[in-house]
Each structure stands twice: as C-alpha cells, then as structure tokens.
Amino acid sequence: MNEVLKRNNVKLLGEGEQALVFVHGYGCNQEMWRFITPAFEKNYQIVLLDLVGSGSSDISAYNKGKYDSLKGHAKDVLEICQELSLDKPIFIGHSVSSMIGLHAGIQSPGYFDKIIMVGPSPCYLNDGDYKGGFSKSDILELIETLESNYLGWSSAITPAIMGNPDKPELAEELNNSFCQTDPAIAKHFAKVTFMGDDRAYLPQLETETLILQCSSDIIAPREVGDYLNSKLPNSSLKVLEATGHCPHMSAPEETIEVINAFLKD
C-alpha cells in the first residue's frame, strides 16, 4: 500500500463518484464515523483516515515539529486526497478536525466542494470578548487529567502489565481500544488542539461550509458556533437537537439528515 495511505490508515468504502473525506476529532479514531457512514455509502465514496498519532496510523511518523500546528495534519489530508486523485471531495471534520479542514481548504483553495464542521471551535480559550469556553488553567487541568488517567488506563503500560508472552491476546484486548493513543502523543495533541487559535484564518476560507452544532456542548458552546458563522465568508449554521460533543455517535439519524440536506443543496 502507498506510504501516505498507510501512514494515515486510509480506508475506502462506498460506491459513489464524489468522495466524502471523514476526519475524526481529538481522542478517537476513524471508527467514530461508523454510525453514519452506511447512510452515504450508496451515493458517495467514503474516505476514512486516522490522523497521525491516533488510531492505527503510523505512530513513528508523529513529528512534534510538523504536528505542532493543525496545518501539519491539513497537509496530510491534502496528500491523501491527491494520492486518491479525488475530484472535488467533501470534507467532514469532527471537533478539532474542523479546523484541519479550514487549513486544508485555505492551503488548496477551491479544491473541496464543501466542508462540514461537526462541533467546531476556532479557539477553545477565552480571549477578551471572545468566549471559547475555557481558561488556560482548565486546559492544563485536562492535560493533567489525561496524564493521571493514563496512569490507570494506558496503552503504554499495558504491555508491561500484561507482559504475558503466552497470551498476547490479553494485551491485544486492552490495547485494542477505540480511544487508544500513545500517552505522550495524546498530551501533545491535546495541547495543539486546545491551546491553538485559528480565528485569524476564518475569513480566508472561501469554500461553502456547514457548521453543525449541538444544542448543549461544553467543548463547543453556542456562542462559538455563532462566532464561526459570522467570520466564515461562506457558511451556514445548523444547531442540532442532540447534546454533547459527538452527535454523529449519539444522534446519528439527526446528523445524517442534516448532512444530507446540506449535500443536496
């Protein structure tokens, strides 16, 4: 398999012509889309990928310099699209990957047909009048929580704990978790995600964009959705009845319906 596709553990599904490129958010991997992708398989080509550092991507490709900004991930996504020779694909990003879509759209103007942002936020930190929802100490606390959680629940320590060469499946079982990430990478990615500020880039995105917001989402509050909608040149905002941060998992039907309406527009 091609290096780029292998690096990001790219999976292809579906029978359609136009491609829907699904990019997962912080903490998970491409599996998070499985509740909604079946609805699009008939009419679209589905491109699934794991961001480098997440899921089954090539962890050794995680370079803190390159991925110190979301632009590094955006470059990867564009490389994948190029490798697959996608024509006018549609980008669907969850959470932090919405901003990866923003950068990809700016890096390659006119390339994406449409961009769908699920639970996006251009900046999680409060800054003057801008209410991102979090203070710096909140984010540091998340990183602390992450660290302490990885003490008890870590892919890095399971091989040591489960170090039983006779029963590799034991370690496999613990490791094969949906949210598994190397702890050091998880920490770095958390910093890049939650400490970043992409507000200045918003006016540069010409692509038609749908902002999907949940009615109650601690990670991306309503004001942030409104802010995005006012700064993106070509966007519309749709507030879902679903709550939480992962409507594509907790309310797949509603999410599919709204995405479909936007795609058919």
């Binding site: 903490g27 998340l142 302490s148 601690i218 990670i219």
Partner: protein, 368 residues
C-alpha cells in the same frame, strides 16, 4: 420484608457507588453509598445535575472526548479514573465502570459503578513518582557512563602525542647513542624525564578528578598561569616548529590546576594540529578582571567553516577537518574543553574565519 425491599436495601448499602444516568448524563438514580461519598442528598442530584456536573473541567473534556465515545462505541467502559467533586468542593478520585443498558421501553441508560480509590491513588502517585525518579537516575547514570567513556578516549588521545615524543627521543638515543655528545644525551634524557614526569602527574590528577566526577572533591590551588602555559607548551608538540607568543595578564589565580592544564593542552594542540601554515603561530593572551581571567588562544590554522561553528563543541562532531598529519580528529577534545570549562565555573567560545585561523576564548573563574 419483600424481595423488592431486599433489593433496595442491597442497592443502597452496596460497598460501591451505583449511578444511573440518561445517555445525556442526567442523573436518574444513585445509591446511598454514592450519595454519601459525594455529600449530596438524592434531591440535590435527581433531575438537577448531570454526571458531568460532578467532574472537574479536565474530567468534563475527558468525558466528551474519550469516555462517552467509547461508551457508545463499545457499549461499556472500564476503569476510567475521574476526579469527582464532593459537595464541599473536595476532589475524590474514583474508578468508574459503565455499561450502556437498554431498558424495556427501548430507552438506553448508562449504569455505572463508582469506586472510591483515594488510597490506591496515593499509592499510584507514589509509584509514578518513583518511576520518574528511577528514570531520571537511569538517564543520569547513562550520561555519566557516556561522559566517562568519551573522557577515556580524549585522555588517551591527549596522552599519546607527548608519549610518542618520549618514545621518539628514546629511540633516537638508542640508535645514535655513540654519535651524540654527552651534553646532547643528557639534554634528551632531561626532556624525556620532564615529559614523562608531567604525563605521570597528569594521569594521576586526571584519574583523581574523574573518579570523583564533581569538582567538589578536587581542591583549588594557586596556579601561576604563565608557568602553566609554558608547561603545556613544553608537552604540546615538540616535533613542529611553533612560534608561541604569550601576551597580556598571565597572573597567579586560584583554580583547578589539572583541569586548566587539560583545557589549554587541548586548545593549543588543536591550534597546531589543524594548521597548514608553514609558520605555525599560537598566541596566548590573558586579560584579568575582578572575578575572572580571560584567556584567548589564537592560532593561524585552517579555521572553522561558518556552518560548523555551532558544532565544534558537540561531542562526536569531527567536522571532517583533516589535521596536518592528514588524520581526522576524534571530535572529542573540544566537547571536553566545554564540559570542563563549565565544571570549573567558566565558559569557552570560539570565533573563526575559515582559512585564516581561530580564536578560542576561555573564561576562568577566580576562586577565593
């Protein structure tokens, strides 16, 4: 008591917290054990608070980005460590196991056990800190080992040059014993003795110094820098005709003799080795300030390329420069000069023009 009452009693007095929430996290039911752990009455929570409300902000983020997606994806999660907030504001570390259970109406709820792990958490933190401590120590040891092995290489390299002279002079004496005048023989023997003597002292001092990696175990002494420089020159390289110039302040200061000796030997030998000029010239210039003595070793050697200037003090960077005997350097000498200069409270830097020569500046702290 009916079976249902029994069940209720067991539910409430179970040795772990039980919590039922909606898929949105809204608290539907909690047992007495959990309420007691949290310091709340059922009325405070039921329909009023969500599980997320009991978490720290970091925990809330973790809930949204890891816990809930996992729960939806797998239908269950195990051993998630949250800090939950007691009514008083105190944080209690707990271990949460949750299953997504479908109730008869087709409605899904999340059912969790919540276990207080305050004691275990302390133990875990202790272990974690111990692990960090052990890792730091291991890294220090590894560095010390590396330093020592590099040091051994540098030292053998530095000792070899004067040793070769001793051997050369001894061979000369042997092969031409009959031709040489009595005075010449005595002069050669004198030089051999002097070189061997200072080598022996150097080895002793160096061993002494590096067996005790800290300068704490080495004593400072008054060192006459002019004499020391002359001493170094005498063993630096006697086969080459080198024009040495000593300028400026070269006073007596309190410092570590062996270390300064080694540093100067390295700098001067380098100035001679990496030198293609027919007339090698090495200047040693001193400038004394209140608390330090600045020494400059100026050579007219091959100099250092701009792109290599940052690298000269890195261990193992030999920059491909060939010395006048057409051998590549070991790349160890200057890294040691830097380490040693810093160990005795000084510093070393270099300015150079490729093809013109180099100026090494050494700051020596004056000890009291």
């Amino acid at each position: 008591m009916g079976e249902l009452d029994d069940y209720e009693a067991v539910f409430h007095s179970a040795p772990c917290g039980f919590l039922t929430t909606s898929t949105e996290g809204e608290i539907l039911k909690a047992n007495q054990t959990l309420l007691k752990l949290l310091g709340y009455e059922m009325g405070d929570l039921q329909g009023r608070k969500s599980f997320q409300d009991l978490l720290t902000i970091g925990g809330k983020l973790y809930y949204e980005t890891h816990y809930k997606p996992l729960l939806i994806y797998q239908g269950s999660v195990k051993e998630i460590n949250f800090d939950i907030i007691h009514k008083s504001g105190n944080r209690i570390p707990v271990l949460v196991n949750t299953v997504a259970a479908e109730l008869s109406k087709g409605k899904t709820v999340f059912q969790s056990t919540v276990l207080d792990i305050t004691q275990r958490k302390l133990y875990e933190r202790e272990l974690y800190l111990e692990k960090e401590r052990a890792e730091t120590l291991a890294a220090q040891l590894k560095n010390a080992n590396l330093e020592l092995s590099r040091f051994a290489q540098v030292i053998s390299h530095d000792i070899k040059t004067p040793l070769k002279d001793v051997l050369g002079l001894a061979s000369l004496l042997q092969s031409r014993f009959g031709d040489l005048s009595q005075e010449k023989k005595l002069e050669i023997i004198g030089t051999i003795k002097k070189s061997a003597g200072s080598l022996s002292t150097m080895v002793d001092n160096v061993l002494n110094y590096y067996l005790n990696t800290d300068t704490e175990n080495l004593k400072t002494e008054p060192v006459n820098i002019r004499n020391l420089v002359e001493d170094v020159i005498s063993i630096a390289d006697s086969r080459e005709k080198v024009d040495f110039k000593l300028e400026g302040d070269l006073p007596e200061i309190r410092t570590y003799r062996t270390v300064v000796h080694l540093i100067l030997l390295n700098l001067i030998v380098n100035g001679i080795k990496y030198n293609e000029s027919p007339n090698i010239c090495i200047q040693i210039r001193g400038k004394e300030t209140n608390d330090a003595l600045w020494l400059e070793v100026v050579d007219n050697g091959i100099g250092i390329k701009d792109e290599d200037l940052d690298k000269v003090f890195n261990p193992m960077e030999n920059l491909n420069a060939k010395d006048r005997f057409n051998k590549k350097g070991t790349g160890l000498g200057l890294s040691y000069v830097k380490i040693m200069a810093e160990k005795l409270g000084g510093e070393v830097s270099v300015k150079s023009k490729h093809g013109k020569g180099s100026v090494f500046s050494l700051k020596l702290k004056k000890f009291n």
